[in-house]
Amino acid sequence: MRKTIVSAIASDKSPAPLLKSQALSKNFKGLQALKNHNLELYPGEILGIIGPNGSGKSTLFNVITGFSPPSSGTVVFDGTVITGWRPDRIVGKGIARTFQGSRLFKALTAAENVEAAAQRHDRPGLLSTLTHLGGYARRQAAIRGRAHALLELLGLARWSNRRAGDLPYGAQRRLEIARAMATGPKLLMLDEPAAGLNTHETKELMGLIRGLRDGFGVAVIVVEHDMDLIGNLCERVQVLAQGELICEGTFDVVQQDARVRGAYLGHD
């Protein structure tokens, strides 16, 4: 899968980009958190986004996922302009995300967290829910089944009936990914998924992310400070500084770039 994409890009017979954002900007009360940002992402690709704190990485996530609409610019996803759409519609179109820090439903069980997200496709209608007719049991079973498969895949099956807030930290991070995957995305956006994990857990996480890409064919955008993860996992890296894209390329290329070094050494 990966090979075909890479070779397709290389041979210039590129498939249509899955995500194409053009001239995205976001202003907060005079502060330009994101300036004229462009991005193209191909199906099944893993893209890393790095940059110092406050460089606009999370803003970019929020703008693409509809969490806070851009001040200007357009986002085209899977052939449709989704700029300004409501978050749940964007999820329905196939973009799922996790949050920097956790936004799990802590009072719900791990299984319920994933089932809530898995409703998107199989939710029975209200009438069907109340009467238990019209395929209610089948839909309910489909939701439960998909949730359980994801919990299993991310090594969370034994925590299924525990409150999400009571899970160990590493498991909570994986649960966020399981919940995002339950929406059936074509693009998975991970905001600092390795934050707070130890080296061993981070390594495991890289395997999981790769597994999701290979198994489900999702494209992945990952924001991370862990350069080990970025270098090992990402086929392409974008570097942001002060809301601007300053460099793009493979990790090796980006590492050698003078502007990137400048941004990280923080002389400005």
Binding site: T65, F67, R86, P87, D88, V91, G92, A96, R97, F99, R103, L104, F105, K106, A107, L108, E112, N113, E115, A116, A117, Q119, R120, R123, P124, L126, T129, R139, Q140, I143, R179, A180, A182, T183
Partner: protein, 300 residues
Amino acid sequence: MNSLEFTIQQIINAVSLGSLYAMVAVGLSMVFGILKMTNFAHGDMMMTGSYATVLLSALGVPFPIAIVAGIAVSALTGILAERIAYRPVRGAPDVTLLLTSLALTYVLENLAILIFSGSPRSFPTPDWMNEVFAFSDGAITFTSVDIISSTSAILSLLGLGWFVSHTTTGLGMRAAAEDMAAAALVGLDINRLIVIAFAIASGFAGLAGMLWAAQSGIIEPDMGFSPLLKAFVAAIVGGFGSIAGAVLGGYLLGALEILIVGFGPTELSPYRDAIVFALLIVFLLFRPGGIMQANREVKL
């Protein structure tokens, strides 16, 4: 009259009153849980349904059908209130939401005064609802309305509990109550969940309003005000935002009032409302999260 019979009578009264409080409190708590907003117009959902029922039965519609239609009118009022009044100001500061709900109360009550006049009207309870059951030479008495209130409250509250804990929509509502933004970002349709919450909450208020009217025999435009305040206390006592807590609070409040009236010194009876609201103040000061959660802050 021996004391056992007296006690049984008071328990019947407490369950009957507590059922009404619980049904109103549950709606208040549901809406608060999902929108973090106290819907002071909630009591008026009791009123709109009752007026609809009176109107329909005056037109010759059979009473049970008029009741069901009245509950539907209450639910519809709730849906319209959400759509017209609350949705446009969603996300605004808390004070804006609070004032919107107070304004809506005035609009609805004055609309009722305009259409039906401010004077009370009799609620046309059919005879079978007013039937009195007396035991032990009248030491224990209750009416069909008492039985209907208690059973319909308990059944509908159990039904609500099942709905919230066992259905996909109920799961969505619990998720949205915990983190609305995250719920939207896992693909849940927030508007749909909020509309359903309003419909259920207002439907419960409608049913409670009907039973309230059947017990008092009259309806008036501001009939929802007093039960709303009591339900508010019940919801706070049980833990605002929690459905089970609202039910518990409703029955506790019913029991407390009957305890004061039935067992307290006679001089205390006129002060029962004062005692109830003193309880509210005590809870807000020392246990704002309600009985179950000690330290959770509640914003109103």
